[in-house]
């Protein structure tokens, strides 16, 4: 059972790392600021989600598991709002230019 949980953790956290990597590659390769924002929020959110999912079997109790999920939800909220604030600033700058 323990082995099953541990291998799940390794698998999910590695998959999460792959998405963080993909998000970073997108950040470097995508042509304009707004497209880069897509790369940053979506790939990284999924990456963090997978890391959290992978760590859930390692949690020592339901409260610790809930703490992990809370971290993910707060990161989602902040990511969604900040992305839009940056997007708005980019649009304003494009209009001025």
């Amino acid at each position: 059972m323990r082995v099953l949980f541990d291998s799940f953790t390794v698998l999910a956290v590695s998959a999460g790392a792959v998405f963080f990597l993909a998000g970073t590659v997108g950040l470097l390769r995508f042509p304009d600021s707004l497209s880069r924002l897509h790369a940053l929020t979506k790939a990284d959110n999924l990456g963090l989600g997978l890391v959290v999912l992978g760590l859930l079997p390692q949690a020592t109790g339901p409260l610790v598991a809930l703490k992990l999920i809370t971290v993910w939800l707060l990161a989602q909220l902040a990511g969604a709002i900040v992305t839009q604030l940056v997007a708005r600033a980019v649009r304003r700058e494009n209009q001025e230019a």
């Binding site: 909220l77 709002i81 708005r88």
Partner: protein
């Protein structure tokens, strides 16, 4: 090389790389963005040095609150940037500065590489009285008991800085409200965040304050979180920035240092004198001081970011 060592080397290189970027960046705004990430990376370095209390303070104050302050300044000062490009010092000064910097760095590096042996430490001395203080976090014990006078003076420094900032306002704005952001229309998304996040931040901030007695955390870290929530509400325009002549505001600003000082002077009636606590009340007294200090710290940090008054006092 172990995995932890790889992590440390990578982190140290990243910290230095971001520092180079801050010095070399083309625009001040880009440098400030670099500074915010520098603070967060530095917080990770502190955690790797087993100093979690400092890591929290660095992330909250060194990166977060300072970053907010510098970002406003950078956007306001943007028109002045192109002009100062012509004032760059010549090659000679560059060389002199580089030589000086390398010398200082080399001296510090030598100190690091040739450490004193045995390493000086006050940890055993700090550990001796921890049980009677009933405060399990040694850093909080140092801040609130052993070196309480430093902490008290630091509060006074914060207050003096705020008085200094306020006194830079033009006379006609004295007593009025700080301008905060040069933004008239609140953004929809920001308002949404300002409605949802502050209650969560209050729970987290009070938790960080409370846990400071037994684990990393304390008045500064908790106060910085509360200040950030207050700033978020004000920037989103959900509640006004208070006018600085308000009695309640000034009361909140001084209540922390005042209570601390009162307890400190009450120590004169005890064997150890100034800033010593009566044995049986040590923990409750420390908690009371920490709570009022947190309130004052949150208010002062928020108002330091908000800056001097920029609007006339409403009659």
């Amino acid at each position: 090389m172990t995995a932890a060592m790889v992590l440390d080397v990578g982190l140290a290189l990243l910290v230095v790389a971001v520092a180079v970027w801050i010095v070399a960046a083309g625009s001040a705004f880009a440098a400030v963005v670099g500074f915010v990430s520098f603070g967060l990376l530095l917080a990770l370095a502190w955690a790797r040095l087993a100093a979690v209390d400092v890591a929290l303070t660095e992330a909250a104050i060194g990166s977060g609150v300072t970053g907010a302050l510098l970002m406003t300044a950078a956007s306001r000062l943007r028109p002045t940037e192109s002009r100062s490009a012509g004032e760059r010092p010549g090659a000679f000064l560059h060389v002199v500065a580089a030589v000086l910097a390398v010398l200082v760095s080399a001296g510090l590096a030598a100190l690091v590489l040739i450490p004193a042996s045995p390493a000086p430490s006050l940890a055993p001395a700090a550990a001796v009285h921890l049980p009677e203080l009933d405060v399990l976090n040694p850093v909080t014990a140092v801040l609130m008991a052993y070196r309480a006078v430093d902490t008290l003076l630091e509060k006074i420094v914060l207050l003096l800085a705020l008085i200094g900032v306020w006194s830079l306002a033009p006379d006609r704005f004295w007593g009025g409200a700080p301008g905060l952001w040069p933004r008239s229309r609140p953004d929809g998304e920001l308002t949404l965040l300002a409605r949802l996040l502050p209650p969560i931040g209050i729970v987290v901030g009070i938790y960080i304050l409370w846990v400071g007695a037994i684990a990393p955390g304390g008045a500064f870290q908790g106060g910085a979180i509360l200040a950030a929530m207050w700033l978020l509400i004000m920037i989103a325009g959900l509640r006004p920035v208070p006018e600085i002549h308000r009695q309640w505001l000034r009361l909140v600003l001084v209540v922390g240092p005042a209570v601390f000082l009162t307890v400190g002077f009450a120590g004169f009636f005890l064997p150890n004198g100034f800033l010593s606590y009566p044995a049986q009340f040590t923990k409750p007294l420390i908690i009371v001081i920490e709570v009022v200090l947190t309130l004052s710290i949150a208010a002062i940090l928020g108002l330091l970011v908000a800056g001097p008054p920029e609007r006339e006092r409403q009659r």
